[in-house]
Symmetry: C2
Subunit: 339 residues, 2 copies
């Protein structure tokens, strides 16, 4: 018999998520009989990502997914295949997959809600969920493929000090764009300017966002990479240059509410400005992951980008780490090992 | 001395536009001294288009443009150049340009808000503002270049019986798409199905739009071509297929209000669905007008499309024609000759 620890949803968060919204459950189980297409994995490391917050709300907005009360929390993880009834994933294989916050999971890769990411030989779990994580691929493809920046353009990034945002700032800088980062503290802004190559920053908690954008981007915003939504999206949408692009990556300002993440107030601005607003998910780019791995590893080797990983040890610390995300208390991509 | 008749803005419309919002002014003038870059044109035919409604509101939303009280109404017109201080437009040249509702106008083509459209030799004013009008180019490039439809996809068109919409329906049908038209009367719906190749239609005034879309597009909408906005945009945005595209052409439901034309309530639907929402103006495509002329003239010659022109004679009838647009009382692209 094997021991399984699981973090489950104790209750639906009332606004901001709290540690007590989660409950640790322990159980034992025997070797499961796997149906065709199923694999048994040991979850070794967990990516603690804002999007999980969406799944804690009740199923009214069911397209976002909703974890039932008592259900195990889902999320991307680095997994080792222990037993397999899917020949594509033999025992011993290592994958990054949508799994659950527990020691052992039975997954069905061919029907996973997010495709399984390849792990090139020699890549560690920390790298696969850190420097080369789905977050890094999100930054890379969201900026380059969805946003299509050109040298000399003005790029504005919200949530700029986050895992995705800080890489977007660095890549946009490498591509020769003028980059303005929006973040929530003086420390974060300083780090973006000193370490990430941001040309300017805005601390939205103490500065007037609209006035600062007017001053910093008098010719308008060519590309807005949005992780936040709400008032920040509105302020940027009001200031787009003609043929501007809004990359919709996340809307973290709305995750605590469960209702909608409202769009800009006036679609005619998009019409008259020939503005493109486009959402995407990283699962769209699994087949092209190698392209991002190559570019990122070159830039890392050249010292042109740095990807901060906030690595924490210990399964018990998952809820605390998750709450830290929404308090802005993490320092880069947040990973928790099964410990 | 020459006589000039002008339709001016008598007062700002209070909600729905009315004939009494306009005033006819007559004046006389001598041959004007043209500054460098200016041309004197005789306006021969006027395109009566919904977008003009935006310019009748007060300048709070100044990016849309605002005509002052007493100012002459602006709009696209077929113009004959009478005198010129711009060598690109010699006397005798015929152009389609953003002009004004008056007999004579002094224009400055190089600085026009909308680029001047070419008129191939042999094309009449009626053709240039009818079959090959900016509205036709809007339909062609909005569907093909912005929307990028593929054969077999489900395309939904709002304002489908209008000048732009009815051509979008026909082109999408030629391209092998399944086309659902949304219009505001049983007559219009019948015409769309019988004459324009719509596979299905929805009369939004008497049917439940959401339920009908669910029934007609159970796999979701691949491409939504929106001329209307508001509740219709929301209903479509809620039902987009993955990788769907929303082409923002116009938002006629909001023009009477002066405030915003609100976007969809939940940007996370765009994120999770990898949805692209894109505005455009036909001025973006002036350099490629020949491509649309060629395709449209082939389709017209083959009898595969028909473009309805509602041609009315007489300068005095401009305001009545404009009000008819918002009552849905026009039968296709609405043109008024100077008469």
């Amino acid at each position: 018999m094997m021991r399984n620890r699981s973090w489950t949803l104790a209750r639906r968060p009332d606004g901001a998520v709290a540690v007590d919204d989660f409950a640790l459950v322990e159980s034992t189980f025997g070797a499961p009989a796997l149906a065709e297409g199923e694999i048994l994995v040991r979850n070794r490391i967990f990516a603690v990502a804002p999007t999980i917050r969406n799944w804690l709300n009740d199923p009214g907005e069911s397209y976002r997914g909703s974890i039932p009360i008592g259900g195990t929390i889902g999320g991307m993880a680095g997994c080792e295949v222990i037993a397999s009834a899917d020949p594509s994933y033999p025992p011993g294989a290592r994958i990054v997959a949508m799994s659950r916050w527990e020691d052992w999971s039975v997954l069905r890769p061919a029907q996973a809600p997010v495709p399984v990411f390849p792990m090139p030989g020699g890549m560690t779990f920390e790298q696969a969920l850190g420097s080369y994580s789905p977050n890094s691929l999100t930054a890379y493809f969201g900026l380059i493929d969805v946003g299509r920046p050109r040298a000399g353009e003005t790029v504005v990034v919200s949530g700029a000090a986050g895992s995705v945002g800080s890489l977007v700032v660095q890549i946009a800088n490498i591509l020769g764009c003028r980059v303005i980062g929006i973040a929530g503290s003086a420390d974060k802004c300083r780090w973006l300017e000193r370490a990430c190559g941001a040309d300017a920053t805005i601390d939205y908690r103490i500065e007037n966002l609209g006035e600062r954008l007017d001053a910093l981007a008098p010719g308008g915003i060519d590309l807005f990479f949005d992780n936040v939504g709400g008032d920040i999206l509105q302020a940027a949408a009001d200031r787009m240059a003609r043929h501007g692009r809004i990359v919709l990556c996340g809307q973290i300002s709305a995750y605590d509410r469960g209702g909608g993440a409202p769009g800009p107030r006036d679609m005619m601005k998009l019409v008259y400005g020939s503005i493109r607003m486009q959402g995407f998910v990283v699962g769209d780019y699994v087949a092209r992951a190698g392209e991002a791995h190559d570019a990122l590893s070159n830039w890392i080797a050249e010292g042109r980008i740095g990807i901060r990983v906030d690595l924490r040890d210990g399964f018990d610390r998952l809820p605390t780490a998750f709450v830290d995300l929404f308090r802005g208390a993490n320092q880069g991509t947040l990973l928790v090992t099964a410990g």
